[in-house]
Symmetry: C2
Subunit: 401 residues, 2 copies
Amino acid sequence: MNPPLLLVNATLPDGRRVDIHVRDGTIAAMGDLGATKPTGVERIDLDGAIVIPGLVDGHIHLDKTLLGLPFIPHLPGSSVAERVAAEKTLRRSLTMPVEQRAIRLVAQVVASGTIAMRSHVDIDDLVRLDGLHGLLKVREAARDHADIQIVAFPQSGIVTLPGAADMLDQAVRDGADLVGGLDPAGFDHDVDGHLDVVFGIAERRGVGIDIHLHDFGPLGCSELRRIAERTAASGLGGRVAVSHAYALGGVDDGEFGRTAEALARANVAIMTNGAGPVPMPPVKRLAAAGVTVFSGSDNIRDAWSPYGSGDMLERAMLVGYRNELSSDEDLALALSLATTAPAKVLGIETYALAPGMPADLVAIPADSLPEAVVDHPRRKLVMKRGRVVAVDGSLLAPLKI
Amino acid sequence: MNPPLLLVNATLPDGRRVDIHVRDGTIAAMGDLGATKPTGVERIDLDGAIVIPGLVDGHIHLDKTLLGLPFIPHLPGSSVAERVAAEKTLRRSLTMPVEQRAIRLVAQVVASGTIAMRSHVDIDDLVRLDGLHGLLKVREAARDHADIQIVAFPQSGIVTLPGAADMLDQAVRDGADLVGGLDPAGFDHDVDGHLDVVFGIAERRGVGIDIHLHDFGPLGCSELRRIAERTAASGLGGRVAVSHAYALGGVDDGEFGRTAEALARANVAIMTNGAGPVPMPPVKRLAAAGVTVFSGSDNIRDAWSPYGSGDMLERAMLVGYRNELSSDEDLALALSLATTAPAKVLGIETYALAPGMPADLVAIPADSLPEAVVDHPRRKLVMKRGRVVAVDGSLLAPLKI
């Protein structure tokens, strides 16, 4: 167990200046500690930085990243299927094991204040369960830096790929936390066949669901409503998410309203990373309709995109910028996409800065949370389970596997 | 004059490792200097960072920024006219002079490697020429940090604002480098009346033009073609730019093609900052059509937007991300928006890293230029006129006025 310590001159989001006493991995006390201030423990001066309970990345692909390798030029592909094929070609040429690439990405995101994340991992005919087994090792190696949830992701389809359904089922039995899906119509051309497998595994194994959905327009919206129906029918409300859901951007008000209402009623969450060139789910309208919206980094320097830093505060800025979230209230919504919303989706019930809660936190040198979002300055300190893991944007010690 | 110095271990974009001998504000020699390497001068080790001739910001509003003040919550406005009114209300409450706010922004952008910029300055019935006179002082105070070009910008219109035309003319006589315009149709409701004033001043005073155009769709495209016609008729080709030009995003191929061709033929440049929520000019299609496209920060923490860092490498990333510029060739195009393209638009004829050229440069710790764009790491060193002005993202000495 790590020695106790005292964070002094922390600023809470409401402006109060407090000290935080950390002991046995939890927040022992917080406030103007006065006479109860512990003595003889290490003191760290946060110099007024704002403290929140850490950033949460709701969607990352730890297995795909090319970090640790020389910069590999991007090869464009014009459809999901083309890109899947291009990625497989690239992957065959990689000699660095998935664990080595993934751990570098974990280190990078932790340095920016992420204390928990949901990573998808490709399950297909090429890697089979190797990527999963690699990420299970990464999850263990990184357990004192971040909590990692793993989604078994059928990147090459289910219905159209012999053996995929069995591999997904095996992946969950081997330790994946959720089962994923991919464009039931656009990729697999069989919406119910695809969802039968996904919901079947989820119900049989008692796990949640997170489906990639890139299909646009009314087709994508009809898939979203079908997912909502099946969620309600299976009693999985609160444990189902759809990632990207571009379809929610660029449809008419009627189509949008029907779909948002179905998602809210079934308690299906929507993940958006503020994609650059395509229509995106309108965050404010969805939130107003009662839909849980959260965010994630998505691709970070991999076969799908050369972009991405893994900094969830920068991501909140980007999604906010794309959605014209500009008032203080709107910027709070942008920040929630990287904090409370993904914490809820990931089922982190202890996500709060309060005595008795885990000492997971990030300190941001900004005068207010709206300023923290727009400026996303280098993090002053990151703490996981009561231990300081990063200072001034850098890990204190290398994260190894 | 500053003492000579030697930058060692610089990497050129083509991968060559060189030393750069800087003397009397210019690059005296560059390459493997061997026996000609100067002795007895200060040596600065760039540790392999890539060196380019500095970043150029093609569109900034130095007078609008609220930097230096506590974070002021954003008040949304749904039209250009509403926002102009909201800005005037806010401006009446400001007590910090424009010079003090603007110099902070200059310091911030210089720290990220910007060595030249084009700033618009509001000319209206409230500030009249006060903002211009403030920025003229800022230009002088910052002359050893960055070259500043000033556009007299009619933020409250021309035709609809009595006295505006005379103020713009006076602004140019007082030292503004270009004359601006604003939505000739959407704001002033008189395209030719507006352009008569703008082109009239440009021709009479021998200055260039940079017009803000937010009008969408076919209306905006028709204005772009009218501007192209008047540019050709007045012989001002190469000295006229249109900023934003949202209309070029979201029109059909015929409308786009006609307009892009007219702009290319008349040599009218287009500025895009990769605006978040609105359609944007398609950078790659415009470049392919022969149109000069450049970028700029636009609003940085002001009444128009709480967002913005002033980092033109981050801006290149953002515009690239919005335009899905992902291959190495495409990322080179993204970088050009913040380097060669605005340098050409601003008329910087010495924009090159070569012996005899001004020693204006930025060193970026990245393995390649594509990586520099996607990662936009903190700048290792910024040099202006042969003097090191910033190291590791911070100015060496405060910039004062």
